[in-house]
């Protein structure tokens, strides 16, 4: 038992240890900002795509109607 105790590493000196400061408020703000930026980018992407597709549908419809076979 004494032999085991003698081979154990000495206790670490934790007096110099400092907990790494993690700014909780900044993490919170970044989390909510990321979500809202993602949502707005996603909706803007959909809106742009919808506008482009609507233009394309109208152009294609005009071509189909304009060149209708007798």
């Amino acid at each position: 038992m004494n032999e085991i105790a003698s081979t154990a590493p000495p206790p670490r000196d934790l007096s110099a240890y400092k907990e790494e400061p993690v700014p909780g408020g900044a993490l919170l703000v970044v989390a909510y900002a990321v979500v809202w930026v993602l949502v707005f980018v996603w909706i803007a992407r959909l809106a742009l795509r919808q506008t482009r597709l609507e233009r394309e549908v109208h152009a294609l419809s005009d071509r189909v109607d304009g060149g209708a076979e007798p």
Binding site: L28, V35, V39, S61
Partner: protein
């Protein structure tokens, strides 16, 4: 014109839904900031929990519903169900990205690390990769039944993975806390903030899915119109080839 439907104007019901979701989000932000107390141990960063878990709910519902819609479309092809499946998977990707960005921000403070390969995190990354794979197949494959079937078959994997995400902590442990499944939120203020945020997030998911569904139907309309034009050009070319040269 083809069977695909085009939407040139935003319907009143959708505008009403947007107004409702905006009101819900204002209520949710009020509850998060002013009603819910900061956590005694984690401090203010615990408030990431509300948006993170609500986004996870939206992700699981969208991807599971998209998976089921894809299975139905595989068994009985239907353009509307296919468009709904694409819309749900696309929206699921949005909320998976929200989950996988807010989670590490909370984990950094709570666990002391940005990421760990524990079961729930790994499965969430896997379901995101499945959903991105579905979107890649549908975007890159030429219009037609082959790409549609491959995309739908891949999407059916999302529902079982979503179920495994739901049960991951009970089955395999890991570092994720069990707040909702492990007894619920005790503080009334926190409970109010949580459920209002869940309602707002699900409302937002419904609105985004509806917008994406309209885009999917327009994509179908464009493909159908292009096919119509190609078929007409082919018929004209054949007629011209049969006519005698004068």
């Amino acid at each position: 014109m083809t069977g695909a439907v085009t939407h040139s104007r935003t319907p009143t019901t959708l505008l009403a839904a947007v107004a409702g979701v905006t009101a819900l989000w204002l209520a949710a932000l009020y509850a998060i900031v002013l009603v819910a107390q900061p956590d005694a141990i984690l401090g203010i960063v615990q408030k990431v929990f509300y948006v993170h878990v609500a986004a996870a709910f939206a992700m699981l519902i969208c991807l599971s519903a998209g998976s089921v819609a894809s299975l139905v479309d595989l068994l009985q092809p239907n353009d509307r169900i296919d468009a709904a499946a694409r819309a749900l998977v696309d929206t699921g990707v949005l909320f998976a990205l929200a989950v996988l960005t807010t989670g590490p921000l909370w984990a950094r403070k709570s666990w002391g690390m940005w990421w760990t390969w524990e079961p729930r995190l790994t499965l969430t990354l896997l379901v995101l990769l499945i959903a991105v794979g579905v979107l890649a197949v549908r975007t890159l494959a030429p219009p037609g039944p082959a790409g549609r079937r491959v995309g739908a078959a891949l999407a059916t994997l999302a529902a079982p993975t979503a179920y495994l995400i739901h049960v991951a902590v009970q089955r395999w442990g890991g570092t994720h806390p069990q707040v909702i499944q492990g007894g619920g939120i005790q503080s009334p203020g926190m409970r109010l903030a949580f459920w209002v945020t869940v309602a707002a997030m699900l409302g937002l998911a419904a609105v985004v899915t509806t917008l994406r569904y309209r885009v999917a139907r327009l994509e179908d309309a464009v493909v159908a119109l292009r096919l119509d034009l190609s078929a007409r050009d082919l018929r004209r070319a054949r007629t011209a080839a049969r006519e005698p040269v004068s």
